[in-house]
């Protein structure tokens, strides 16, 4: 028995398939063969159309997912921006230096001290010392939960810098747990004047104030013409 193909117009139809595939490849996802001839070859045409349909669906789905991912990414990026902004704001907010009494500045430190924050803190304190001419500043670290060697180092540097400007720096608010930890770490803070509580530091500072006033008064008696020359 001889097999025979019942195909009409084969050359034109193959050309059409080629055209359609080319346009799909070029990105035209609407192109279909859509032949209305029914014979042995129409199965292949229909199958190609089906494949193009599937491909179109896939691509659509992918584009949707990609869009979703992109929108999520931009959301995350925005959130990150906000976080960075807030961190910066927090830096500014979290290092207030205030003059609480004649000649006395207080810098309450709350939270964690990273290198960036201590830098801002030190700058604020030193500037305030220069601006106000105060000679005593109290660094209260009651609100600092962890003092490791880096934090201790920063504190030492801040105190040294303040001293260079002629101001005495007192650290208050070291908790018993932190005191023990500092000792075990082996850090020597004996170069810094420390007080257990802010109150102690205040009392000490006021005594210092009084003393320096007395010294001033004494100096005025001994050298009455000091300001004239």
């Amino acid at each position: 028995m001889k097999e025979s193909f019942n195909v009409k117009n084969l050359k034109n139809r193959i050309d059409r398939i080629e055209d359609i595939l080319a346009s799909v490849a070029a990105g035209d996802m609407e192109a279909r063969i859509g032949s209305d001839i029914e014979d042995d070859f129409s199965g292949i045409e229909a199958a190609i159309d089906l494949l193009i349909n599937d491909l179109t669906d896939e691509l659509r789905e992918r584009a949707k997912v990609q869009k979703e991912l992109e929108s999520r990414l931009s959301k995350i990026q925005e959130q990150q921006k906000t976080i960075l902004q807030q961190q910066e704001d927090l830096l500014e907010l979290s290092s207030p230096v205030s003059k609480v009494w004649d000649n006395i500045l207080i810098l309450p430190v709350i939270g964690t001290l990273d290198s960036q924050r201590t830098q801002v803190m030190m700058e604020n304190l030193l500037q305030k010392i220069v601006d106000t001419g105060c000679t005593i500043s109290i660094l209260d670290i009651t609100g600092v939960p962890t003092v490791d060697t880096q934090v201790a180092n920063h504190l030492l540097k801040t105190v040294t810098a303040a001293r260079l400007l002629g101001a005495e720096c007192i650290i208050s608010g070291i908790s018993p747990a932190i005191a023990q930890t500092i000792v075990h770490l082996g850090i020597d803070l004996s170069a810094i004047r420390t007080k257990a509580t802010l109150q102690d530091a205040m009392i000490y500072s006021m005594k210092q104030n009084k003393r320096s006033e007395e010294v001033k008064a004494l100096a005025n008696i001994s050298f009455p013409n000091e300001n004239e020359g």
Binding site: Q87, T112, D114, S115, Q116, P145, T146, V147, D148, T149, Q150, A152, N153, S175, P176, A177, I178, Q180, T181, H184, L185, G186, I187
Partner: protein, 141 residues
């Protein structure tokens, strides 16, 4: 990969990456919470938190970051909180020197590693040049 001998049974409580200075703070807080949950007093909480803070800073400053595993386990009859820090940094050339007080290869005070050792109950360190450093500390509960 460096390996510290594992002669105890443990349960993993958490696994974290240290990549930024902010990670140091958050993981440190997590460990403080674990210590609190384990029933440690405020002094012990502060000690282990400070010790891990030193190790994290070393990883961040010298190795550009690393990984942290937190476990609870039974070691030598003690219930222990175990923290293992692994980095793939430059390694430590002279461990004895690095473990001695006052020596620093960078900008620190030189009390980080020896200080951390004094703050915990068990301290193990291994380091290979150009491969990395692994430190494991334990604090009895």
């Amino acid at each position: 990969m460096l390996d510290i001998t594992c002669d105890f049974k443990s349960e993993l409580l958490g696994k974290f990456a240290i990549e930024t200075e902010y990670d140091i703070v958050t993981v440190r807080q997590t460990i403080r919470q674990f210590a609190k949950d384990a029933g440690m007093g405020i002094v012990d909480q502060t000690r282990i938190t400070t010790a891990v803070s030193e190790l994290f800073r070393n990883m961040y400053n010298y190795a550009g970051g690393g990984k942290v595993f937190i476990e609870s386990g039974d070691v030598e009859g003690h219930h222990a909180l175990i923290v293992t820090c692994i980095d793939h940094g430059p390694g430590i050339e002279n461990l004895d020197l690095a473990m001695s007080d006052g020596y620093t290869s960078g900008m620190g005070m030189g009390y980080g590693l020896p200080g951390a050792k004094r703050l915990v109950d068990r301290f193990e360190i291994q380091s290979k040049l150009n491969e990395g450093t692994t430190v494991r500390i334990m604090k009895w509960k």
